[in-house]
């Protein structure tokens, strides 16, 4: 936002009081021009999605010969694409079971790192112990290690020690996703938790709370916006992940929907009409997750706690 602020230096014309940065930002973001720009962006973003939705209901020949907007002039409607990807027994079908695989992979791969990161971030912000800062810097530094670096060691660690087969490979995938997510998750939650006013934590200690109680009753409720955003990001990342799933979970039993979608189009991409329906099915869950968690994005959770 700061790069778009040619007006920032001007004092407020009305009211006489100098406006705070926050008030200024709020004013700029709620002005009429800003609303119009937001509306245009929303339309630009939504139009292709809408086109994809329409295409998924059009017959295969029509998708391949004309654009989706011709639907309005020449409506033709079919469930064939959905039926093909969901129900048919051919190589193209059975998206349903992959859908379940995706859920089985994603839910633990989100809950584990978020939970572990919350514990770790609390300990790193509010429990005094020797070497705490060094440990935190170490975790922070791990973020720069590319995921691809860890693929081979992690895979050989699993295959030489555990030799998991079939559904057991889910454990590999959960473990890998948790490992890759933790450095950033710890860093993000630590930033939020350490910003909480120390007096509130101390007040809870004097009130007789131990660390477990402070974590559950005081800290967690106050960092819900951070938890919600972390959950959404991790969910989208895991849900859309192809690389980790292919490396650690190859095989029909454990492949998520992304693997299936890549195969759907056919080996030479000639069957891409199936992708329209497949893509739409895979969008639904992240959309639900986002819409149900966005109500936790509340500002001013800390208001009224401490003064000054």
């Amino acid at each position: 936002m700061t790069t778009l602020t040619p007006m920032a230096g001007k004092p407020a014309a009305k009211g006489g009081k100098p406006e705070t940065r926050r008030a200024k930002a709020k004013k700029r973001l709620t002005s009429r021009t800003a609303s119009v720009i937001a509306l245009i962006i929303a339309i630009l973003w939504t139009t292709p999605t809408f086109g994809l939705l329409l295409s998924s209901f059009r017959p295969a020949e029509e998708i391949k010969t004309s654009g989706w907007w011709t639907f309005f002039a020449n409506p033709s409607f079919t469930f064939d694409n959905y039926a093909e990807v969901l129900l048919s027994d051919s190589s193209a079908g059975r998206l349903g079971s992959y859908f379940i695989n995706s859920l089985v992979i994603t839910i633990p791969s989100v809950l584990f790192p978020v939970a572990f990161a919350a514990f770790a971030a609390y300990a790193l912000s509010w429990i005094r112990f020797k070497g705490r800062d060094t440990l935190f810097i170490g975790i922070f530094a791990l973020q720069v290690v590319p995921l691809q670096m860890a693929l081979v060691p992690l895979l050989s660690f699993f295959s030489s020690n555990f030799a998991l087969e079939d559904e057991g490979k889910f454990i590999q995938i959960w473990f890998a996703h948790t490992c890759f997510a933790l450095p950033f998750a710890v860093f993000l939650l630590h930033n939020f938790m350490s910003e909480l006013p120390g007096d509130v934590i101390e007040a809870a200690r004097v009130d007789g709370a131990n660390h477990g109680t402070i974590f559950r009753k005081v800290v967690l409720p106050l960092v819900t916006p951070a938890l919600a955003s972390l959950t959404i990001f991790q969910f989208l990342w895991v849900w859309n992940d192809l690389l980790v799933a292919l490396v650690f979970g190859s095989g029909q039993d454990t492949s998520p929907m992304t693997v299936r979608l890549a195969e759907l189009a056919g080996s030479r991409g000639e069957e891409w009409q199936r992708l329209t329906a497949g893509a739409f099915i895979s969008i639904i869950v992240p959309l639900i997750v986002f819409l149900s968690l966005q109500r936790y994005f509340v500002r001013g959770l800390l208001a009224g706690s401490v003064k000054g």
Partner: protein, 361 residues
């Protein structure tokens, strides 16, 4: 109900040489209201936090009711604390804020309810029990913080500058409320402030601290009348005492041409170690304007209605040149700026200190 005893308690922060609190010895009686006062950084808050269990006791020990609590966690000490910035739980209602500690102790629900209602009534918070802290004014938040302490019925109340975030009028009002509340509940209270007016008006006894050392602990009147050293003399009282270091003669202290007579014992004590000077403190309210005395050139007159304070400079005949001097004048005829007035200190009301050690003589 409990006594509190500091026995040579010290706090040395890691990585520092000088203790933040240096061998503090202090006994607080059952039901007493003790005020810790001093300039910022003097160790008063640290002393309180050591008692609360939020800071380690590096040397010595702290006893509550003859039980050594130095190494106990805060929850095992049965104390309640009011923080400077209230430190309310922002996601809980006023009721939940007050009930939090009781819930943790698994107090029966009916008793929690009764105690919270009682405290709310005492603090006039009944109408706000369902509100969150952000929907309260500063004074109400402060009362919630007090309520959170009261419902616990602890052995000791700890208050860390609880009034410093209130505006002046509310502060005076709340000051007397806290004092009378403490009297009614009869709970031993340790109260930290940097405001000497709060200390004088609220405390049964006041402990003055500087640089981690306890300077003097006594009743407000004793602190005012017989300050133990120059620091306490200058800290207690408003406006501050005029403390001047002037030449010492056999008759007394020479303020320019005026000599303030000292007894022979005082002169002898002041002269220990070949000191040629003596430090004399004169409170602004213990002076009269008159025809002769110490000449002062008036620079500022502060009128407060009931009385007025005259600020000026005096030539005291020492090497510092002209020195600032404050005198209380009646509300009658006030001197003009630039005029020279003559100040007569009341005999016997001066405070005499050793010029080098600063100790009272």
């Amino acid at each position: 109900m409990a006594t509190v005893t500091y026995q040579g308690a010290s706090r040395i922060y890691p990585g520092t040489e000088k203790p933040a609190v240096d061998k503090l010895d202090l006994e607080i009686q059952d039901g007493e209201f003790l005020v810790l006062v001093g300039p910022s950084g003097c160790g008063k808050s640290t002393s309180l936090r050591m008692l609360a269990g939020l800071e380690d006791v590096d040397e010595g020990s702290i006893l509550i009711d003859d039980k050594d609590v130095s190494n106990l966690p805060p929850k095992a000490r049965d104390i309640a604390m009011v923080f400077q910035n209230y430190a309310l739980y922002p996601h809980m209602t006023v009721y939940e804020n007050m009930a939090f500690a009781l819930k943790l102790r698994k107090t029966p629900k009916s008793e929690i309810d009764a105690r919270v209602k009682e405290a709310a009534e005492l603090l006039q918070l009944e109408d706000y029990l369902k509100r969150k802290p952000k929907a309260l004014s500063g004074g109400q938040r402060q009362r919630v913080a007090m309520g959170r302490a009261i419902v616990r019925q602890p052995q000791v109340f700890l208050m860390d500058e609880p009034l410093s975030n209130l505006d002046a009028k509310l502060r005076v009002q709340t000051r007397s409320q806290i004092a009378s509340l403490q009297k009614r509940l009869g709970v031993t209270t340790v109260y930290v402030t940097h405001d000497q007016v709060e200390a004088m008006t609220m405390g049964h006894r006041v402990a003055v601290m500087l640089d981690g050392l306890l300077q003097q602990c006594d009743t407000p009147r004793a602190l005012y009348e017989t300050p133990k050293n120059v620091f306490v003399a200058g800290f207690m009282g408003s406006p501050a005492m005029n403390i001047k270091t002037v030449p010492l003669t056999a008759e007394g202290a020479k303020f320019g041409d005026v000599t303030i007579p000292l007894t022979r014992e005082q002169v002898e004590a002041a002269g220990v170690g070949d000191a040629k000077t003596v430090t004399v403190g004169i409170r602004p309210e213990h002076c009269k304007l008159g025809e002769h005395g110490i000449p002062i050139e008036v620079e500022l007159v502060e009128e407060l209605g009931s009385d007025a304070f005259v600020y000026g400079h005096a030539q005291l005949g020492n090497e510092n040149g002209a020195e600032r001097f404050v005198v209380r004048a009646g509300s009658g005829l006030l001197p003009q700026l630039g005029e020279t007035v003559f100040v007569q200190p009341e005999v016997g009301k001066e405070h005499v200190f050793h010029a080098e050690t600063g100790d009272r003589i």
